[in-house]
């Protein structure tokens, strides 16, 4: 197995101590930082698919993301100035009136692992705060809105409406959360819907590619 393949395989199974060692070895062998980063992103793609399919669970996904983060730490000095893998910037938050953060955090982690810079606004986020974050940060091409409670679905509707009518452009809106369905996402004018963290990362990549 090549060193690059080893990096990818060990990210997939969440080997937090081994991945940074393998990343250093891959660099020493002459692989570029971009190649190694892409291998880790691909590994996390597999993790996301397995999570969506119910083959792995939250701990496995978190530990894989942690392994990747450890690898990225080693890569960082070598990535300076290389932005070819950046898919853009994603603003994410749980909509106003909803304090649930677990699902949102998982989505943020998977979107970051897919190659986005993530700006996490936290929970109970008013529509104006989403809009300000789009305005205040350069390169925002995705806004992800999360909600767990059926009682906060009106807030999600209002947030999407505010984002769509705020006069800013260049970004797509992705929605998700337990009570949210594809039909509801369509009805409120969101650009995309994701059922879980794995499919959110896939959808984010598709939206970035289509932009």
């Amino acid at each position: 197995m090549s060193k690059i393949a080893e990096v990818r395989a060990h990210v997939e199974i969440g080997k937090t101590k081994i991945v940074p060692v393998l990343v250093q070895q891959a660099l020493d062998e002459g692989h570029t930082a971009v190649e190694i980063l892409q291998a880790m992103i691909d590994g996390m793609g597999v993790v996301g698919d397995k999570f969506s399919a119910g083959e792995i669970f939250v701990p496995e996904m978190l530990i894989a993301a942690k392994a990747m983060a450890k690898g990225v730490e080693v890569l960082k000095p070598h990535l300076a100035g290389e932005s070819s893998l950046s898919l853009g910037t994603c603003v994410i938050g749980t909509v106003q009136g909803d304090l649930h953060d677990i699902g949102k955090n998982l989505v943020a982690m998977m979107i970051e692992s897919a190659g986005f810079t993530v700006i996490d606004l936290g929970v109970d986020v008013p529509a104006e705060k989403f809009i300000s974050a789009v305005k205040d940060n350069s390169g925002v091409n995705l806004v992800a809105c999360s909600g767990l409670l059926s009682t906060t679905m009106p807030a999600m509707r209002a947030t999407v409406a505010a984002l769509k009518s705020c006069g800013l452009s260049g970004f797509k809106v992705l929605v998700g959360g337990a009570p949210v369905t594809r039909e509801f996402a369509d009805e409120i004018g969101a650009d995309a819907y994701a059922a879980d963290a794995g499919s959110a990362a896939i959808m984010a990549k598709e939206l970035a590619a289509a932009a």
């Binding site: 937090t16 792995i56 669970f57 701990p59 955090n105």
Partner: protein, 326 residues
């Protein structure tokens, strides 16, 4: 007509119930029993475990606060240095309302029921935050086992006290093990960490007079049912429609009963509709049938978040009993 208790037994054993068990009717839950401090709506408190809980005015319930300043366990390897087990000794005055309530219950008709929350799984992430808890199962399994054993011993010490005071017939035990569509842990990891501790705790309750263990997890947890059976759970309350309850009943009926199938989310909201509730109740009753099933909102106590929903649900269940138990 069977008593509530007799009807429950006939239902969960697959005998001859004369109507649907109507939600929580068979449990008389002694909520006056002292346990741990909970915030009221609008309050933020730090409880006996050092967990900060906040209940904002506009929310349906309290949330643990897990920013850097508030996590009770910041480093699992040092949990013994930071966590102090709360006392389970309470004064006679604190126990008096619970004892009076228990004494007023007709035990021929209903089960005098202890309410216990939060269970050991929830406690792990209440103490350190979800992300840390989930990763510590992988990275620090020995410490997690020790912490879980410590939490289990606390439950047993509490059980000794309340058993002595009110002689309960049933336990209603909360521990949410999943999201709406998946368990948080794999079945293998769940068994590794929680099967034996729960066997020990539930075994203690049962060895000391508790006849019925009702476990609340309003989530998907179909993949954990074999563990639930091994732990000694008699009724899983909170089973959501995402679990395919009719299939679970076919597969496990007789070993465990299922209470729920009426997801609170789409029914219990500001604009609730009695007609919609009745439709959901009819679907639940017809698809799950008369045995090993108790139609119930998935909410973890005998009320609803919005006034009238619980009562409308009970009324609809009574209507289904008239139709299906002529």
């Amino acid at each position: 007509m069977l008593s509530k208790r007799q009807n429950l037994i006939e239902t969960i054993r697959g005998g001859n119930p004369d109507r649907f068990v109507n939600q929580y009717e068979f449990l008389d839950i002694i909520l006056e029993a002292p346990l741990r401090t909970r915030p009221q709506r609008g309050q933020t408190i730090t409880n006996e475990w050092g967990v900060t809980m906040s209940w904002p005015q506009d929310q349906l319930g309290p949330f643990p606060v897990h920013d850097e300043a508030h996590r009770a366990i910041k480093d699992i390897t040092k949990w013994r240095e930071t966590i102090r087990c709360p006392s389970v000794e309470f004064s006679d005055e604190r126990w008096a309302p619970a004892i009076a309530h228990a004494a007023s219950v007709d035990r021929e008709d209903k089960y005098v029921t202890v309410f216990f929350a939060s269970g050991t799984f929830e406690m792990t992430h209440f103490l350190m935050g979800m992300e840390d808890a989930m990763m510590n199962f992988y990275e620090e399994p020995e410490h997690m086992h020790e912490l879980i054993d410590f939490l289990t011993d606390y439950e047993i010490r509490y059980a000794k006290q309340i058993i002595e005071r009110i002689r309960p017939d049933a336990l209603f035990h909360h521990d949410d093990w999943g999201s709406q569509v998946a368990s948080l842990l794999s079945p293998q990891m769940f068994r590794e960490f929680f099967l034996e501790p729960y066997k020990k705790a539930y075994g203690f309750w049962k060895d000391n007079g508790v006849e019925l263990i009702v476990h609340h997890s309003d989530s998907y947890a179909a993949n954990l049912v074999p563990s639930m059976i091994d732990m000694g759970i008699d009724i899983w309350q909170g089973v959501m429609t995402t679990n395919n309850t009719p299939e679970l009943i076919k597969k496990y009926g007789g070993q465990i009963a299922f209470m729920g199938e009426l997801d609170s989310g789409p029914l219990d909201h500001q604009d609730w509709d009695a007609k919609v509730i009745a439709e959901h109740v009819e679907r639940a009753c017809r698809s799950c049938g008369k045995h090993h099933f108790i139609p119930c909102l998935t909410q973890g106590l005998n009320f609803s978040s919005f006034p009238g929903v619980y009562e409308a649900t009970s009324k609809a269940i009574d209507e289904m009993s008239k139709k299906m138990f002529p």
